[in-house]
Amino acid sequence: MKFSEVDVAVIGSGPAGMAAAIKAREEGAEHVLILERQEQLGGLLHQCVHSGFGLLYFGQDLTGPEYAHRFIEKVRDLGIEILLETMVTQLSGDRKLTAINRYEGMIHLHPKSVVLAMGCRERSRGQLSIPGTRPAGIFTAGTAQRLVNVEGFIPGKKVVILGSGDIGMIMARRLTLEGVEVKAVIEILPYVGGLIRNEVQCLHDFDIPLLLEHTVTQIHGEQRVEAVTIAKVDKHKRPIDGTEQVVECDTLLLSVGLIPENELSRMAGITLDPLIGGPLVDERRETSVPGVFAGGNVVHVHDIVDDVSWEAEIAGSWAAKFSQKGDLERKEKITLKPGRNIRSIVPQTISGQSDVTFYIRVKEMEEKVQLKVGDLYQRSFRVAKPSEMIKVDLPVKELKKLDGRESELNVECEKGE
């Protein structure tokens, strides 16, 4: 393929990138190119050797590599072009893209449309500001996962995990099974950050203590971590005097959240959602820059991979259309307004002219609630939790009821009886 002929360029080959590329190809885009900085397709899936992938998408409980495998085969079967070990370093507002690898050197592309699928990165200690020394032995949970599952290193013998996100809990189980002593999982909030399934199967199953409303206040050790001080926190998340205890350990894992990878998006002048950190998108997953689409964790962090694939298919499908037509018809926009107890909504705007899949996160855990999207949609939930994203499908025939009258739609979580 001549690089001058690329119809759809996909940046990143995780579940999002592969699903977008496959969909774009299936919808008739001739030259689809995936650019991936790693030496293989699949993104994060390779280090997720546990199961829990694909229950919704395939109706089967797969491990990360098995889930990746199905998409990789399809990418190959469809004749999608792949550039591995290729890092995209620049993206401009008119879709000019620069990438670099050791075979071709610098590569300049001007694809007809682009799909961003760069995933997310983990928050690290710098963003947390825990006082203390700077010894070795502090890792993000995802880095530890890569070490243990791909590279074959055990990060330490006695581990404390800060944050009860899914990755942290999954690593608690994985390390325990590798013979490591996991001393405790420490969570500052009054509830677990990840899925209930992971709390039960990763922590309870192995009697790993979970300390809610606690945090790490100090790290001890010169060369290597020797201990951490933990303390209970009050409702403003401030450590309570006199509740400190020292826990001996040689390793601290941080599982304190993920943020969309947004360097290229910034470079291209794409408007970002200040709260989520990913690009603002419409229901086609088109960003503020025409012809640049986005899907998966680069837009907002998903809990499960099935949603990543589905969302990216939307982006891939519209990227194919854009590459064929040169532009998309844009109707007046309707903005989604987060109302009571709503933290975030993706997409942030819709046209009202095509089907919409919304992903909604609440701010606080609440029992017996009613989720409402304007007057168009209403559903009751036994419980709504920040850790479990809510997915809502609104077909275009429902949206037609708006009749172009509204420019805003309120999304809220009302308290039920």
Binding site: T63, E66, E178
Partner: protein, 121 residues
């Protein structure tokens, strides 16, 4: 009477439930569940608390240090640690295909361990 506490994972609520058993081990009472699906789940979890088992095994003569694996059937949760111990002593060599058995009849319980990825080189 014997009691067992089980957290239901049927939905995000995560109800803390208690099962009471009579002397024959029959469940006579379930408290704490908030719905029918929840009762079904905790009964099943009481009878047979099984988990999908995944791990990695060391490789030889390969550019990759590890190969991810799983059992072809779920294990009882009480068998997980033992299974991990057994697998920590296993070494495999390329070429292997995803789905191929790398260790038959794990712990003599009639469960096979299979590769969850190809090991080409």
């Amino acid at each position: 009477m014997v009691e067992e506490k089980i957290v239901c994972i049927g939905c995000p609520l995560g109800c803390e439930t208690t099962l009471k058993m009579d002397d024959q081990g029959e469940v006579v009472k379930i408290t704490g569940t908030k719905c029918k699906e929840g009762r079904k789940y905790v009964l099943e979890e009481h009878r047979s608390p099984v988990r999908v088992f995944t791990a990695t095994v060391l490789t030889q003569n390969s550019v990759r240090p590890l190969l991810p694996v799983r059992t072809n059937r779920p294990l009882l949760k009480t068998q997980l640690k033992e299974a991990a111990k057994v697998l920590s002593k296993v070494k495999v060599q390329p070429p292997l295909r995803m789905g191929q058995i790398i260790l038959p009849n794990l712990m003599n319980i009639g469960v096979d361990v299979v590769a969850t990825d190809d090991l080409v080189l």
